[in-house]
Subunit: 115 residues, 2 copies
Amino acid sequence: MKNVVSDCSIESIMRVLSGRWPTLLLYYLKDGTKRFNELRRDNPTVSHRMLALELRKLEAAGIISRIDHDGYPRRVDYGLTEAGRRLVPLIDALGNWWEEVEAERGAAPPLSQVA
Amino acid sequence: MKNVVSDCSIESIMRVLSGRWPTLLLYYLKDGTKRFNELRRDNPTVSHRMLALELRKLEAAGIISRIDHDGYPRRVDYGLTEAGRRLVPLIDALGNWWEEVEAERGAAPPLSQVA
DNA sequence: CCGTATCCAAAGTGATACTG
DNA sequence: CAGTATCACTTTGGATACGG
């Protein structure tokens, strides 16, 4: 395990993961595939346009898979790729880290830091 | 360890970590404190204005510490808080995950996926 | 149902100049 | 040196409409 922040791979990751939707989509897809409009319902505040854009970005990054069952009416299933599934626990770790930070923020500061 | 993506704590994290600079600053500060203009030199493409804004955002989030040695000329040292130091390995994990993904992208796909 | 293009408002960002 | 304010410009994102 190298320290990878050093190479600027971290920059390309953040280009993909930055923003409000990528991590949320990860969450909504972690238990199986969903259709486009199911994802919209899970997330009432995302616009049609943004959902499409974000899905394509994540697909291009290899995180999300897309299966188009040609037919009419059209049906497309989105899911996580293997890489996407490996990403979920890392995002979870961030969530746990943040909860700790907030707990500490709420807790009384150590005596040494009280003026 | 809960699945924290579920509560929307992940949304507030990403509000802080999203974008080009937060993770890079994390990297440049991981080995000790730096002054404002040192950070600018580390990162020649960040503007004066953006660096100031990002530093304040990260400070407010409890990730970065700021020590102002009142004097003239002014001197301010930025560093990671305890919370910030605990964050570094999580970002590193993302970096490692991404490198794997890219390696797989480069590698020949499994036979089952070849048309 | 899913996807894309267009149009327009809003947020983000850099350059610059100024202060303590 | 570090920080803030202003302004012009660029980018982003929602609404909408239309196509397959």
